[in-house]
Amino acid sequence: MRSRTPFFTLRTIGVGLVGLCLAVVVSAQSPGPTAAVGIEKGYGSKSAPIYMEVFSDFQCPACRGLYEATLRQVIANYVATGKVYLIHRDMPLPNHPHARTAARYANAAAKIGKMESVISALYANQDRWSADGNIEAVVASVLTPAEMRQVRELVRAQEIERAIDADVALARQRQVRSTPTIFITHKGRTTPLPPGGVSYQLLKQYFDYLLQQ
């Protein structure tokens, strides 16, 4: 009998812990960091309920993959319908020699309202300009000569450099480790998405869940 007493005591403690854990799990609320969203280079309506920030490097193949397979559909189905405001953030990586120049062109295009077509062209022709460095030819292919003149002037402006640096600083502040990295902000709560596994099908279900909240 003496040897059984600790066993029952332990079992009672165990059952008590189980009950406590169940109560915690049932009452759990999603935790998440909150952060103000700087709005500089966005697609869609700023009044959208969901903000999606994507830290990208134009020369990174994974960023192109995300843009081609996921972001194009997000733009068509969620940005165009006013549900998501998609913000491009620059994070040119030092191991990609043309990434910063490409970011300059994209930012310059954003200044004249042509960001979407230039970003699309940069990703579609990534292999080409990554090899020869001729980014201007790719950008020129989607702009009118007048727009291209404006972009050429803006590319050298300090304002463009500062915009890129501000994104890089924000990336550092948010502890972004790789590109692409995505942050979703909804109702004041910012959630970083795990890198590497963001497919359109999953993102769609996540957005639909958030929109129902």
Binding site: C21, L22, G196
Partner: protein
């Protein structure tokens, strides 16, 4: 003494499993599905059932381990699960994937540190499993010896 180590081991393991389940159940299932998908091992159709089912399995195992109920099955299942997790993580690490571990919710990068931690947990789990089976075998031998010495069971 061995009994105390076994209790400490299963409480630690159970606690870790419950915490891991809690961090996943406290968020929408798609966030865990993103983490699973980043390992690149499962087809798209399998992501939802795994992302929803796995945290509940972790919770069940954690509760069984803490409560000391069905210990042999719980410990063996926990070891098998941790072995799978560890194998998958080692594979991803060797491939150089810059992804989240997915172990305890969001934001923990897969690294040598996470591998070491999961390796230790796997070791603890295997030790608990072996200890549970040895205890059970010892108990059975003890019962058999008693029934051999006193087959009528009247002593």
């Amino acid at each position: 003494m061995r009994r105390l180590w076994l209790i400490a081991g299963r409480l630690l393991l159970g606690g870790v499993f419950i915490y891991a389940a809690y961090t996943k159940l406290a968020q929408h299932w798609t966030l865990f599905a993103f983490s699973i998908n980043s390992y690149g091992l499962l087809p798209e159709w399998a992501l939802k059932p795994v992302a929803i089912g796995l945290p509940w399995l972790e919770l069940l195992l954690g509760l069984l381990l803490v409560a000391g109920v069905g210990l042999r099955y719980a410990a063996a299942a926990a070891s098998a699960l941790l072995l799978v997790f560890f194998g998958v993580m080692v594979r991803a690490y060797l491939q150089g994937l810059e992804i989240d571990c997915g172990c305890f919710g969001l934001g923990e990068q897969l690294s040598a540190k996470t591998l070491a931690r999961d390796g230790v947990l796997l070791g603890v789990s295997l030790a608990v499993t072996i200890a549970v089976f040895l205890s059970e075998a010892k108990r059975k031998r003890h019962l058999e010896t008693n029934s051999f010495v006193n087959p009528q069971g009247t002593g």
